[in-house]
Symmetry: C3
Subunit: 460 residues, 3 copies
């Protein structure tokens, strides 16, 4: 408990510094902003509606995760997905936003906007905050799937707050907040339109660290190392979750123009949809050829893989390229899921494969398929051009560096976070008894489905 | 049956009077409206999209209620939540809208716009109607949770129509339609930005009347008066419902500017999100300290409590104040749920605590935290200023009066409605046999989950 | 397999022809489009958001279908609803869009825009594509319900691709793409505002062909021809689906103005909502009088019937007419469901009755209730006026012709498609063993609910 207090103390100091640096001159009513920019209302509507759609991805993730896991942990899984958004909102309000989108300090971190107070009490700052917070929470919630069914609830609460407060915002600052990766002297600097790397790969690789730190669920691999599938308790629930995510992604990607005056939003929406479809189709066919069944679970993950992969390039490619990117993503996710199982890394919902691997693929694909017709909204650079369109390897190099840094940062910070959690909470994993009985009973004193008779064969 | 006819007769008379009063000069195509206000399209898009989001709260309420109740009543609960929107839409079309938003008559009721006919066949009137109808239906559906698992279906149909046709619109007129509460000579008159009082407290306290009139469900309190928890049959369903409501609230609150040219919408969205998060966190911690578990049910209700509370003040406070309002709401909802159980008032989903108590808290909080930077859209008053910002106790007084009137009106009209229902339908509660067997069988001749084996221990 | 290749070859030829016809002069960034039309952003936001809402109808259909069918087929049903959108997106990208909305060729088909390439790489073309693709996928997914629980998965994949690639786009071209039905010399030509006929009746009647081609599910009718109801495994899931569809319909109908500058969007939203409510109420009362229960299943279908019926006339009628159209729809759907059962046509979710019959009713109702206040956006005709408003029988005649052509085209093309499928896939229906065991096991090697004990009585 005293350790928590010292962290709060550190937080307090940070805040005071931040407050001291600020003047007070925001536009809290929006009257001045409207006078300066009479076209602002449509941009505000666009960004807000898209933010709401991205927020709605939270239940999408919850449904996917709970559906793909067992009934005995369903309360715990919903709780985790609720609380990462709750904790994420509050810490991103306090510090995360300032670190990410505040005034740049030596291209490393942002240093203004703490608690949305002072200068930050401004309609435009609040607007950007609501759009950014749902991205931060997405990064945090991705981790959830990889550590499902065995992590202690307070540990989850702790690290998901750290992800939204520190890990995600700092890497985010490097690419979106004017940090050093955006200023790389290759191509137009590293770019990531809506966050294949910043949000998805970051979440996916922190999830990988978590899955490795926790070890596999009891019973996932038998004595001889063979995989014994643990199947989800409610597949239609998981399918619903994927539909919800697909829907929410129409806020995630097109909304990232941060302006409705960029009519390119229609192209982004089309690319998003086509990559998802292509990813699903590729995974469906791959699994049919490989396993012989029309596998719904992998087809759903294929759709998500396509969505993750197209998130970085969506604004800079033509429709056919989105299809190609999605097709490759659908195959990558299958290969990755099969490989992780061979390595005995137990990722219950495929979060590492969907978000980690395909997040990286998305970042790289920009360096290949960007067709040079559209600029980079953030840096105001006129064109992003990839290898296949005569842009040379420059942009690709910037993308590769950014991808490498993303993975390294996720591993480093993830490792530190789980080490700290281990020390503070006396271990990060629930007891074997609790795991067998279900976390719903152990952590939450409940039963998700008390009116139904539950089958025993999947309980252990 | 003849009683129903006499009510229809009364309705007919009302309509004829209304029609007689009207001239015919609306703008049904919108061409003239557009000419007068070329900026209208963005406002129409904003209001419509927000209205759609609020409509989507209907399944949110349905999921919460069904998830927190038993499998044997699941059809009944979905039916109720469907039909209050159905009946609400039709009666609000016929009379509710006119009473609430029609031309003011002595600050008591509105008297034009019946059946959206005549002058009311106008793009702007239709626009306001679609936004208002989803609020009316929300008020009606809130009641549903408090009377769940024991009310006769036709009684439900009757009183939910009365709520949307009469009870809600008249109080709504007093605050939003230019009625006497909005003209109180304290502060800027009573205000309620998006309806903490008008929608939520109204629904919550009618629900309290209903829960008291019906009495507790069989088995909820044992012979010695001890609470025997009746747990919900599908907790992930309830959690999904809360996520859906949170999402829909982004239409409820920011949409209540009724204009996208009020860029303050971004501040409102942020406040809405932060209050929800703070409410959830407060309830989580409160229950952990009080009961020892990480309680999902109360955490979900904490999030809703934060949302309800911030609904009145969302446009007039800074982000940190939204957090404080939400934290208090999260604690209030826990205290209220525990207290109602001590009083043996059986509110199956906590509707009274979430919407009633926190609706009132929201109305009052305006008088404390309104920071004086933003005006009141409805009355065009320049500032709403609460006690903590040097506004004195004037605004607080107006808010307290409005809160008191809300509670009194809900009790009076709720009591009359349930008395009438008792007389008309020969009692308002199903038989003990039907209650034990489940309302799905008794009222609807069905079974929500025929393919699953149902546990017996919660049946009685 | 070689047959598939020959189809691909044909496709390839078609593409080459298409590409050869095109010049390259689109506006892929939107900069020029914005310059020419500074009011475009609000239209883009409106159309995109509405498209997203319509896309969200996909999970709505999935939930309704899965909820109303049995647990043993739940994976299959979610898979079908996922894959029709996946396949639909890809084929509509390749050929469907070009056939429907491309440059008109002798009022029969469109012939430009293949693969969204060349000239079609343009923000406006992409915008219309994303709006149209979700309509195409809706037509395809409607069929799914009628053929549920017995169709081979690859057959489903095949014909749903054909619907989105060919059948739907060609009839769509005739009404919306400048084809011959829109040029009929009666009234303003055949009109269908948002697709009661084009989308719903088309899907519904192809579904009827499918249901007839497949024959009823084993056990649906006993030896004496009596109906033995097969009830859905999760009624709340179906109810959630209807709420989701109702929500999505607010994109479907108002979005079909394809412009936010048509302020009539508010009237369309109101009419949509009221018809749904009226349909639900009519079905509720009809079933109560006919069967004696408050039937949730039929009430849900009544709401959908109202929505389907109002889809064609929504822009051209006053609110009270929407109520009347909805009331009739709610009764029609009940009568149709009862009649189909008498004919031993097994339509598990009532798709034919909801979408087929009421789609036709919607198309016809335009010729009756259109009040002459509003024009036809597509043809720029100033008024659509029906019989009851002194428009004579001209418009009604155009509507009747269009309805007849819709049914004929659906039957003809549906029949051909299922014949081809039968030949290619060696039959269109799964074996009796697989049907008894459930398609989840047979086609997908899975079990939707492995943690729950399943009741046996509905398995066969």
């Amino acid at each position: 408990m005293h350790k928590k207090r010292s962290w709060l103390f550190f937080l307090g100091v940070l805040i005071l510094v931040g407050v001291a640096l600020e003047a007070y001159a925001g536009d809290p009513t929006g009257a001045e902003t409207l006078k300066k920019d009479p076209g602002a209302p449509v941009d505000y509507v666009w960004i807000l509606v898209c933010a709401f759609l991205v927020m709605f991805m939270q239940p999408g993730f919850a449904l996917v995760e709970a559906g793909f896991c067992r009934a005995k942990n369903a309360i715990n899984l919903m709780m985790k997905n609720l609380m990462d958004f709750v904790a994420g909102s509050l810490v991103f309000f306090a510090v995360g936003y300032a670190l990410m989108m505040g005034k740049d300090w030596h291209t490393l971190i942002g240093i203004s906007g703490w608690f949305l107070h002072g200068d930050a009490y401004d309609v435009h700052t609040y607007l950007i905050w609501i759009f950014q917070v749902v991205f931060a929470a997405t990064a945090a919630t991705i981790v959830s799937g990889a550590v499902a069914e065995r992590i202690k609830f307070p540990v989850y609460l702790f690290y998901s707050a750290v992800v939204s407060a520190i890990i995600y915002p700092i890497y985010g600052h490097w690419v979106w907040g004017g940090g050093w990766l955006s200023k790389l002297p290759f191509g137009v600097g590293a770019v990531d339109f809506a966050g294949s790397g910043i949000v998805h790969a970051m979440g996916g690789f922190i999830g990988l660290v978590g899955a490795m730190a926790l070890g596999p669920r009891i019973g996932k691999y038998d004595d001889k190392g063979k995989v014994k599938p643990i199947v989800g308790h409610n597949i239609p629930m998981a399918a619903l979750g994927v539909f919800v995510l697909w829907f929410g992604w129409f806020g995630f990607n097109p909304g990232s123009t941060l302006s409705a005056h960029e009519l390119r939003i229609s192209v982004i929406a089309v690319n998003t949809n086509l990559a998802a479809a292509a990813g699903a189709l590729a995974a469906l066919i791959f699994m049919k050829l490989k396993v012989g069944n029309w596998d719904l679970g992998m087809t759903l993950n294929g759709a998500l893989a396509g969505l993750v992969a197209v998130t970085a390039p969506c604004a800079w490619v033509e429709a056919w390229a989105a299809v190609v990117i999605g097709l490759i993503a659908g195959i990558l996710v299958c290969l990755s899921v099969l490989s992780l199982d061979k390595l005995h890394i137990d990722d219950p919902v495929g979060a590492v494969s969907v978000h980690g691997i395909n997040g990286i693929w998305g970042v790289i694909s920009v360096g290949l398929f960007a067709d040079g017709t559209y600029g980079n909204y953030t840096t105001k650079a006129p064109y992003v051009k990839g290898l296949f369109y005569g842009g040379g390897a420059d942009q690709l190099l910037a993308q590769l560096i950014s991808a490498g840094v993303c993975i390294a940062w996720a591993f480093l910070m993830g490792w530190i976070t789980f080490r700290v959690a281990k020390a503070v909470f006396g271990g990060i994993r629930v007891s074997a008894e609790e795991e067998a009985e279900g976390l719903d009973y152990g952590e939450h004193g409940g039963n998700a489905y008390p009116d139904f008779v539950v089958s025993s064969y999947q309980q252990h």
